[in-house]
């Protein structure tokens, strides 16, 4: 009996695959392949402390041309993701501007990134709050996604080597800036 079973199994294995089975397998493989590609193409997102921050080029919010975090390699940079429609960003902007006036220079700058915002609204925001630090535009939110932001505002302190040294998923105020950011800057008391 057992020999009979073995024989039948053997004949099944040798039987050629039917056209319909091949089509079904190919269809399943195609769907799985598409899903896998879709997931992989989204890529992993987010940076952790100690990791190199994304530094792809972005258009300048005002004026032409583009800029990048890589342009500031060798300096400390406080990257601030914001949007004109974001209420906490309005409270945070004057504090960042004040911090830039006190500490900005050849060794440090605040770098604003206006994310998923309308260009004109972003420019008006900069004018209204008199922001003097450089501003880039991340219209489609890809850079914010690469940083792993979940909203605005979010702040990342980037070291001269391009690595993330500090991150805050929320608005900063003068107290936070003086307590956690200022001591890390050149000449700061850490």
């Amino acid at each position: 009996m057992a020999r009979g079973c073995r024989g039948r199994l053997g004949s099944n294995l040798q039987r050629p695959v039917s056209f319909r089975s091949a089509i079904a397998v190919l269809a399943v493989l195609a769907v799985v392949g598409l899903l896998t590609f879709g997931l992989l193409s989204k890529g992993s997102s987010g940076v952790a402390l100690g990791e190199v921050a994304p530094d792809g080029p972005l258009p300048q919010l005002e004026g032409g041309g583009s800029g990048s975090l890589a342009d500031y390699r060798g300096r400390w940079v406080l990257v601030n993701f914001w949007a004109s429609w974001c209420v906490p960003c309005r409270q945070e902007a004057p504090e960042l501007e004040e911090f830039q006036r006190q500490h900005g220079g050849p060794r440090f700058t605040v770098l604003g990134i206006d994310s998923r915002d309308l260009t004109d609204d972003g420019r008006k925001f900069v004018r209204d709050y008199g922001l003097s630090y450089p501003q880039l535009r991340d219209g489609n939110g890809d850079t914010a996604h690469a940083f792993g932001t979940t909203g605005v505002p979010e702040n990342f302190l980037i070291g001269p080597d391009g690595k993330v040294r500090l991150l805050l998923r929320g608005p900063v105020d003068s107290e936070y800036l003086e307590r956690y950011v200022a001591p890390r800057l050149p000449g700061g008391k850490s």
């Binding site: 039948r8 319909r20 269809a27 590609f37 429609w85 219209g139």
Partner: protein, 160 residues
């Protein structure tokens, strides 16, 4: 005489222009706020703009309304939105590159399902609604003479 002919030509030209202008207008229909909001996304909320009420969505709606008031066509409004937010703002992706699969996969799946259904129905009709003819499944034609003989022998061993 010449003046009358010139007048006739002028009337004909103006009539043609009058006839042509409505078709020109029809080629560039007035953009509709409702239709555009149903076809673009609120990038922050991840939903259709018409369903979104977030502050960002409100700004986007105002932007669309302003462009419509400026006389922009639906395509021009969408182009402006893409320029601001990228292609992800379109609810229906453009049929290029990987995005093409969004249109092709359902169509191919539909055709495959249709063909499979056709095969199934044809096979069922050939079989007259019963088991298919020439069924080669094991046991479908009953046991072979050797199997019957062996079965009888086995049963005989248990005959009390």
């Amino acid at each position: 005489m010449l003046g009358a002919r010139l007048a006739a030509v002028a009337i004909a030209v103006s009539s043609m222009a009058a006839l042509a202008s409505p078709s020109a207008v029809a080629a560039e229909p007035q953009a509709s706020q409702t239709e555009i909001e149903a076809e673009v996304m609120c990038p922050v909320c991840g939903t259709l703009l018409q369903l979104a009420e977030s502050p960002q969505a409100q700004r986007e709606k105002v932007f669309v309304r302003r462009l419509i008031r400026e006389g922009k066509t639906e395509q021009q409004v969408k182009d402006a939105l893409v320029s601001e937010y990228g292609e992800a703002v379109l609810a229906l992706p453009k049929g290029k590159g990987f995005n093409l699969s969004a249109y092709l996969v359902p169509a191919i799946a539909f055709v495959i399902a249709l063909v499979a259904l056709g095969f199934g129905v044809a096979r069922w009709r050939r079989a007259g609604g019963g088991p298919p003819d020439g069924d080669s499944r094991p046991g479908a034609q009953g046991p072979s003479p050797e199997d019957s003989e062996r079965l009888d022998a086995d049963l005989a061993r248990y005959d009390l």
